[in-house]
């Protein structure tokens, strides 16, 4: 039977049956030992595990027996990030978790139709959408027992335990991405990410993964303002799935995949065998989840394409387009002063490689104060961008969309950093960044940066790379004759969730043009 995943806030700001049953199932799972593949801790460790951190938060003790090493190697530390596998892997993860929770609910006499709610922090007309309802925050359940859905390790953006997400960090520009799979050459990393093998920690964020996914993690987890300044569970992949809000956040990310597919008939899932059957590289790990009995079931992205497939069988309450059908090309036509936009490219899959347009002069250190850098632009390459922008206004319109332009924050490394930075491009001198949201390129989130920085981790310490689409900013600069310059200023402003002790390195700040 198909179940429906409902909007968390529309269920009500009270102990509604869905959240009551969720709490009771979470409590049941939390009682199971970590050696049980259907336990709360085993499932969380499948996303990521760090013995030291888990001991610090009190989820295990030094003497806690762990599952056999072979099972850990097969199942744990499996989450796919900075990869085109990000969405399908997490869909399988959520489905396995939901089935195990539902089995617990049914065992306790609850409904067989229970489904994970989703947290739509972008819900229009709901002033509270960016905060959490009571069932996730109050200390006690209606019967006076401890609420397993609340955790003391959820610090929020201000580090005081209150969650209220900054609307600037959950913009939905990713929904306008044309292609699911993007490029690793500096252009759009795609709606869903770039082609990779099994990719657990580090590399290049896909657009949806970057915003809102990563940003919500860090806005919710935050870092404790008071000593000992703990980092919140949601702020790091190795602890994120220990917080019950994790699953509701990811249900929303999974829902946005459906929204993206439906909002434009040209949007489509990848069709190449390497992705569908992945990871296919010889010798690398495969995706695997426990069923309700704890037995391993292997899966591939091919099994995750349709939410109503037999193995998934769910729908979302609402997959309407939050952007109201807005098309970036139409917006560009307005900005560039062209009456009619050229006909949009008819075929998906014509993604072209990007080309370096400029870079800053040296690696950048980020801390607790704003930091400025300048990206030097290459004159001949800038001229090609300008020529491409001018082509849109040519008589008869352009044959194709003009270049899109991307800011790359390459190889971001930090051994202890957490938090995020709002990144502004071409701010007027002396301007207050908060008064110029139109210059906000995006939010650099440090979610996942620690493991990606380990020199002997799976990414060899290459860190994270985040790409922002700054096409609209560049279009406006072009129209105000301000693009033909030597340098473009870029400012990093620490977000309120950023702790005082930061030691973050951005390997290079660069700008790429991507012909369309």
């Amino acid at each position: 039977m198909t179940v429906t995943r409902m909007n968390l806030w529309r269920l009500g700001n009270d102990w509604n049956p869905t959240m009551l049953w969720y709490a009771q199932a979470v409590r049941d799972l939390q009682k199971r030992p970590i050696t049980d593949a259907t336990s709360w801790t085993y499932l969380a460790a499948m996303h990521g595990f760090d013995r030291e951190l888990w001991q610090g938060y009190g989820y295990i003790e030094a003497t806690t027996p762990l599952p056999p090493a072979a099972a850990r190697r097969r199942d744990w530390d499996q989450c796919q990030h900075q990869s085109g596998y990000f969405l399908p892997w997490h869909r399988g993860y959520l489905a396995a978790f939901e089935a195990i929770v539902r089995a617990s609910i049914v065992k306790q006499g609850g409904p067989t139709t229970w489904a994970l709610p989703y947290w739509d922090y972008n819900e229009a007309g709901n002033a509270k959408a960016r905060t959490l309802p009571l069932a996730l925050t109050v200390a006690k359940m209606p019967d006076g027992t401890d609420n397993p859905l609340a955790t003391p390790f959820r610090y929020g953006d201000a580090g005081d335990g209150n969650v209220d997400i900054d609307p600037n960090q959950i913009r939905l520009g990713a929904l306008t991405e044309k292609a699911f799979i993007g490029v690793a050459s500096g252009g759009s990393p795609g709606f869903g990410g770039i082609p990779t093998s099994f990719n657990h920690a580090g590399g290049r964020n896909g657009m949806l993964e970057s915003e809102p996914h990563n940003n919500v993690h860090v806005e919710v987890g935050g870092q404790q303002a008071a000593p000992p300044q703990n980092v919140g569970l949601m702020s790091m992949p190795v602890t994120a799935a220990l917080d019950p809000i994790f699953w509701l956040h990811h249900a929303n990310i999974d829902r946005l995949w459906e929204v993206w597919l439906k909002r434009d008939p040209r949007h489509a899932n990848p069709t190449d065998a390497a992705w569908l059957n992945g990871p296919t590289a010889p010798g690398v790990r495969k995706f695997v989840m426990p069923d309700v009995a704890g037995n391993p079931v292997f899966y591939t992205p091919r099994d995750m394409l349709h939410t109503q497939a037999q193995n998934l069988n769910y729908v979302y309450e609402d997959t309407s387009d939050p952007l109201g059908g807005a098309q970036p090309l139409a917006q560009r036509a307005i900005t560039l002063g062209v009456a009619a936009a050229p006909p949009p490219a008819a075929v998906a899959g014509v993604t072209r490689q990007a080309e370096l347009l400029g870079a800053n002069d040296a690696a950048l250190q980020l801390g607790a104060a704003p930091v400025d850098t300048r990206v030097r632009l290459d004159r001949p390459t800038t001229a090609r961008v300008v020529q491409s922008l001018q082509s849109m206004a040519a008589p008869g319109g352009a044959a194709r969309e003009p270049d899109r332009v991307y800011l790359n924050l390459e190889n971001v490394r930090s051994e202890s950093g957490s938090g995020s930075y709002l990144v502004y491009v071409a701010l007027p001198e002396g301007a207050n960044p908060a008064e110029h949201p139109e210059n906000l390129a995006g939010t650099l989130s440090l979610f996942g940066v620690r493991r990606a920085t380990l020199a002997d981790g799976p990414q060899a310490g290459n860190g994270l790379t985040t790409v922002f689409d700054i096409t609209n900013i560049v279009d406006r600069l072009h129209m105000s004759q301000a693009l033909d310059v030597e340098h473009l200023p870029v400012r990093f402003v620490p977000s309120s969730n950023t702790g005082p002790q930061q030691n973050v390195t951005v390997g290079r700040v660069s700008i790429y043009r991507q012909p369309q």
């Binding site: 190697r73 690793a184 050459s185 500096g186 093998s197 099994f198 296919t280 590289a281 010889p282 010798g283 690398v284 790990r285 490689q353 990007a354 080309e355 370096l356 400029g358 870079a359 002069d361 690696a363 030097r376 290459d378 001949p380 390459t381 390459e410 190889n411 020199a455 002997d456 981790g457 799976p458 990414q459 060899a460 310490g461 290459n462 390997g507 290079r508 660069s510």
Partner: protein, 237 residues
């Protein structure tokens, strides 16, 4: 497995040119072998002293020059296919008009380090052979080195992607430095296995091909924790 890796390489942007570079290396090696058997140049059966007696093989070239050429060809043949990751890095992070120059500088530094190392390895192998060391000892040394944490650390460093400047001297310097450090870590990771074919008199080429295939498959795997390991075991954990 190797076939899958080669096919995957061909699909990548840098894969095909690098495979062609490798083929060129094998061609040069074969050409040299026509004049003077490779075994004469770098196989362990050769006496150390003979290396310094030009001319050999009736070619008129000094044996050392021939040794350096053979070493370079061996690096080209066996190492080029391993360079997809750094070559893609250099290519995508350079301005389009500087890409060939960037690649040339990277390759120059990388090949210089490796050619020097290969020449030393060949001379060393000849010396060791003169002392009666054969391929079983070489294999044992390789197995021991491949079990060490230091070898894994070297291999992990091969995956490191440094910052590359975009303009002027900074861009040139960064590409040279990248090629140089890549070469050093690569020598650190591969020297023991590269030494092995020099002790294999019959089936010298086959041994080289086997070593290259192993290194190629291994290079596609992600870096992993630095600890003692079962030698030659390729898995991602």
């Amino acid at each position: 497995m190797p076939v899958a890796v080669v096919l995957a390489m061909v699909r990548q942007g840098a894969g095909l040119p690098l495979l062609l570079a490798s083929l060129t290396g094998w061609f040069i090696l074969a050409a040299i072998d026509q004049r003077i058997p490779l075994t004469e140049i770098c196989a362990a059966s050769i006496g150390l002293a003979r290396l310094w007696y030009p001319p050999i093989g009736g070619t008129g070239q000094s044996a050392l020059a021939m040794l350096v050429l053979a070493s370079f060809a061996m690096v080209l043949a066996m190492m080029a296919p391993l360079l997809t990751e750094p070559v893609t890095h250099v290519w995508t992070r350079s301005l389009a008009r500087r890409r060939l120059r960037a690649l040339a500088l990277f390759s120059l530094a990388y090949a210089a380090v490796w050619t020097a190392a290969m020449t030393l390895l060949a001379v060393a192998s000849a010396g060791l052979a003169a002392l009666g060391v054969g391929w079983p000892v070489s294999l044992a040394v390789a197995a021991l080195w491949h079990a060490t944490p230091a070898r894994q650390a070297s291999l992990n460093r091969c995956h490191r992607l440094p910052r590359l400047g975009a303009f002027g001297w900074a861009a040139d310097r960064d590409c040279l430095a990248y090629g140089f450090t890549s070469g050093l870590w690569c020598v650190g990771a591969c020297w023991a296995l590269m030494l092995l074919p020099m002790f294999v008199e019959r089936g010298h080429f086959l041994a080289m091909l086997a070593v290259m295939t192993f290194l190629l498959v291994e290079r596609q795997m992600p870096s992993r924790a630095v600890r003692w390991r079962m030698p030659f075991a390729i898995y991602s954990a």
